[in-house]
Symmetry: C2
């Protein structure tokens, strides 16, 4: 491929490399804000980050891009360059889809709604939250409608597409319809089975001991500390850039189990980032494929590996050494696979978690289509919680429809990613086991690295070079098939 | 002032505000690199920081600036706006002075020279260092010559001007000439006096205990932790931005005294940054006046306050509490005012330190004028060290002319700032004492905040609104007068 023949493509590659440099700084600013920055630094940082966001947006909507992309599409490119060009075009379309005025109006409404929500949630103040959410929701609908026109899809599909390119309402309805047909009865069966199991107390552990344990467990999972760190933030996340992944968690000194599993979850995200293709760093094709696939990697680490008996057996001596924890690996497994319906999504176990997503998917879809008014959201919520999990949430807004930050910041279309991710993860495990044999066995015999090597070869190293369907077919022989998730839950819990 | 009448000025204010936002991100990137970043993140960070530096340079040399500045100079502006415009013009001239090609060539040569120097210094390898320094020095001379033409001054003056606007070789020769006339004999007198004094052992202290002590001492000095942090780096510095000052230090577990004084020194820099005028944040007039003035504030904290008996008495209980240190405040004062000529500038005491600067000033001046060749630097060094401090450094390059990073990165013109800063600090103290009475007495009677309030009113809050001479006259009644530094040393050490 001579440079002359593909010089429009080369111009674009340079331009997107430049964008990635500014996105590096944006990721650093976000991480620092959540982990290191003193509160008094917030105002100046906010102004600097807003300036940076505007600059990045200007680069992504540079007037030369439309023509240069068209010209590059006529050039003789390798298959990988074509994939990169496709991703460039996708980013360009996404950035150009929504008028700057609407972006600003939504950002402002989202900021106001979120700030108020932080207090309103504490006070169960639905009446205060409702008008803010209504204002925000009308802007979300406007955004969805405009995006829909650009992409030639329905408004809610346009929102789904931001996080899982190519995903549609129809596909999710089909997948979630199946899920709904068997999940509630499975939950009842598991609860009946677990009712007679013993309960174990969790020993206290200092934050600093938990942090040392966290590092050990991250090293066990192959996290590369030459290209990343572990810190503390009030909401755990995996940030930074591929060459320097910034992972965070929080520690509860009365119960180390959630913090530890949080680290394992975020390490899954981090392994994906650290394993993205080196040759494509700084280019759109080198980025993670989608948010659902990202969740699949965190959930692979947490659910397929982390809550399995073999992994808990592997790390049990570390818990003993770092925390003085006397629980056996069987007791740890019991703790980490306990199923118990509850109000809060982020505290849910592996089996009941998808019910929280089914509810949110139905709500979002209806809010965007207009079938559901914001004012009717609490009743809708109560009815669904009753139906799916047998829980009464009447009047409990703060543990009901006000519990998540997503809607308070106008982020609709993300929730399905969590359960799609769990399904991808189960499907990867099934395919992997056809090649490697049982994952539990591999961990038991000291071959956890084989599991990671498979994920690297089939998922991480693909970046965005393939579509999600292409990736799934190459890795597992089929597109997303939720039956593997059902089998996984049945095998582990029945 | 109506906006219409000063709309060119307003355009500039907006432009420079934007530059300051990107400089905020640059400061964050630098701090993170020195304190938090894992080594493997360096390559991508380097590329992102280079992109950012180019962007900032482009903003500072934007083609519209020349005309807009000229137009703004015709507008009706307040005195403060005029000062801000003067600083904008100065930044514009500085950024435009040197052609981009030369900047790149120097950056590259400096990077190569510094990287090699890090190893060569360890091995006392002057022969390896010499050719790199020769290459770099010819680029420094080229830069100095071009800057000199823009400013209409001599080449070395043009380098001095980067760090202390308005300072000239002639002024420094006059000031340093006086210093040289009395300092060597003062050193001999002090040494004769101290020869019979007892020596005290320093107790060991863990890094974490020293960090807690450091925080306490910073709080004693009024450091605002709502707008800043304390962390660890291999070379202590004061970075970040005014609203979020990032201070670093390093801890020697066998000798806490240097780390503690390092924190006090950097806190002086930090107080200056935190005290810069709020109304001018983000504008050139809101920045620190000069590097010499910055050093004056760190040295005020370290020398005028920190090594004084009253301050050491004030913090002695903290040392006892945090480190279990049993030294009395008299013993601490003895340790912190011990005078002993040595090879290394950064380890030098308050009295012998200026000798290291006198030597470097003479060397730089002659290197830039061409009177001294790089090859003759070691002989020049030995002769000067013998004359000024009575120390033989023949053949000891690593503790001689290879000890500092400044020349290895092509930074000439900075060294005088250290001693000018010490002199400014002594002059501030003298003026302050005319108003407040003895500083030692103020600290002794719990009025350290009065000292800080004077500095804030007379130095910090002025930003760059005044020239250095205007600032000195308003604060002390005269321009820089080195006699106060002489009096300070005589009072403390004789």
């Amino acid at each position: 491929m001579s440079l002359d023949k593909a010089h429009h493509y080369q111009t674009l590659a340079k331009h997107f490399q430049s964008i990635s440099h500014f996105e590096h700084l944006s990721a650093l600013g976000d991480w620092d804000q959540a982990t290191m920055m003193p509160i008094g630094g917030g105002e100046a940082r906010g102004a600097a980050m807003a300036e940076l966001a505007t600059h990045i947006h200007n680069l992504k909507t540079a007037p030369m891009l439309a023509d240069t992309i068209k010209e590059a599409q006529q050039e003789a490119l390798t298959a990988e360059q074509q994939a990169n060009l496709r991703e460039m075009n996708y980013q360009y379309l996404q950035a150009n889809a929504v008028p700057a005025d609407l972006v600003k109006a939504k950002t402002k409404a989202a900021y106001r709604c979120e700030q108020a929500w932080r207090e309103q949630r504490k006070h169960n103040d639905w009446q205060g939250f409702k008008p803010n959410l209504e204002t925000l929701m009308s802007l979300v609908k406007e955004e969805a409608t405009i995006r829909a026109q650009t992409l030639g899809v329905s408004p809610y599909d346009a929102l789904l597409d931001k996080f899982e390119p190519g995903m549609t309402t129809a596909k999710i309805e089909h997948i979630f319809g199946q899920l709904k047909s068997w999940l509630p009865s499975l939950i009842q069966q598991v609860q009946a089975k677990q009712i007679s199991e013993p309960r174990y107390g969790i020993p206290a552990a200092t934050a600093s001991d938990q942090a040392l344990l966290g590092r050990d467990v991250m090293e066990t999972l192959g996290f590369d500390f030459n290209h990343g760190r572990l810190d503390i933030s009030s909401h755990p996340f995996c940030g930074g850039v591929s060459s320097d992944v910034r992972l965070t968690t929080r520690y509860d000194e009365a119960d180390f189990t959630s913090g530890l599993m949080g680290i394992i979850h975020e390490t899954g995200h981090a392994k994906y980032e650290q394993g993205l293709p080196l040759a494509w760093r700084g280019q759109p094709a080198g980025l993670a494929r989608s948010m659902a696939l990202h969740e699949s990697q965190s959930l692979f680490c947490e659910m397929q590996i982390g809550r399995g008996a073999s992994f808990l057996k592997l790390i049990q001596p570390l818990l003993k050494q770092r925390l003085g924890c006397q629980l056996s690996h069987q007791q740890l497994t019991n703790i980490y696979t306990r199923v118990s319906p509850g109000h809060i999504r982020v505290d849910a176990d592996e089996v009941t978690y998808p019910c929280h997503i089914l509810l949110r998917f139905e709500a979002e879809k209806s809010l965007v289509s207009g079938e559901l008014a914001v004012a009717d959201l609490p009743d809708f919520w109560s009815a669904q919680m009753q139906e799916l999990l047998g829980i009464n949430t009447d009047g409990d807004y703060k543990n009901g429809c006000m519990q998540d930050i997503h809607w308070a910041v106008g982020e609709l279309g993300y929730f399905p990613s969590y359960t799609l991710g769990a399904m991808y993860a189960a499907q990867f495990k099934q395919a992997m086991e056809q090649r490697l044999g049982s994952v539990e066995q591999a961990i038991e015999t000291g071959k956890l690295s084989d599991v990671m090597t498979w994920l690297e070869a089939n998922v991480w190293s693909k970046g965005s070079l393939l579509s999600i369907d292409e990736l799934m077919i190459q890795a597992t022989g089929e597109t997303l098939n939720p039956i593997h998730f059902k089998h996984h839950l049945e095998n582990r819990y029945l």
